[in-house]
Symmetry: C2
Subunit: 189 residues, 2 copies
Amino acid sequence: MVYVCFMAVDHDHVLRTAAALLTRRATATMDEVARAAGISRATLHRHFAGRDALIRALEDLGIAECEAALEAARPDEGPAADAVRRLVRALEPSAALLAFLYTENQLFEGEEQNEGWTRLDARLAALFRRGQDRGEFRIDLSPAWLTEALYGLLGSGAWAVAEGRVARNDFTYMIVELLLGGVCRREEP
Amino acid sequence: MVYVCFMAVDHDHVLRTAAALLTRRATATMDEVARAAGISRATLHRHFAGRDALIRALEDLGIAECEAALEAARPDEGPAADAVRRLVRALEPSAALLAFLYTENQLFEGEEQNEGWTRLDARLAALFRRGQDRGEFRIDLSPAWLTEALYGLLGSGAWAVAEGRVARNDFTYMIVELLLGGVCRREEP
DNA sequence: ACCATGTGAGACGTGGACGTCTCAGAAGGA
DNA sequence: TCCTTCTGAGACGTCCACGTCTCACATGGT
């Protein structure tokens, strides 16, 4: 009389498969999501009450991955620029999911958004602010904008990679270098 | 026996109203688009055969605005950095529409995309390449990526402004400064 | 006055995706 | 072996947006 299986292992697998699919085609059907995960639509509905629930779960997954990446990057340690480098590198596997959620959030602007995002935004902004306080980063660009720009560049990068316009290997380098250094050549010191 | 009215004036008005609405809510109904433009759904269908046609028209509008902005920015004149400045400034009014089309394009990745985009991409990439050739821009970031990043930053900026996270007045400055100069402080020359 | 053209309102049918349900069968423990 | 649990397949019904159509009305020229 002991319950052995309570749909925990597959749950994560389904979620990640859905992320992979919806990342490529945001308009994918529930049926397509189910087939991509190798299960039937009925079973998919047993895991997630509906499409909304699935998106919510993906949102939670994305937030969790972001927070994990943020912690792995040790944002309070050493030069802020290096922390940003570590952060983008840690964020790379989640970039496509982030891009999906970023645009998805735009669609349903009316509803209240997951508080996890605001928490995450605050932590990212804090990193940029730390760089400013340390004198590493310029102070004429607000942390809020830098946070937003980071999302945008991650999304653009993920999309550009997906479309084959840039090499996957260059992902982190391109984003980090553009974000930190900008387009203009630096004067030789 | 001379035809006076052939639905030309309102056509543009409808298009721009639709752009303004769909920019805010990409999932807006044809009915909502019609009401926003002050016309009935039937009349909207008389202007645009369907939703696809409307999106196509918006795409053409966005491309036209981009090309107009590009020409107004005189991309082949003077320092490339200044040209980029002029370009972003000229692009600012179209940024929201661009952001909409950028994400919209991502949704229908399967279908062939408007050739206007590739033409535009080429011209933007040419501008960045010119900056590289002049020694203004660093050469380790490909023009293709810079083009993509420009789109991404325009989108992020437009969205951040729409959500009230950054001031509308700072739009051009923030994008240009981040794109050209990056986050890190420059050494005093 | 007449007529043509464009319009609004609304009805109608269609298609697609969704959510729910049932039922038979596979898998695995007792 | 039996029995519980989960699953796949599929059949509904529902809802929403779309596209089309009709018809009456307003506008504006002749």
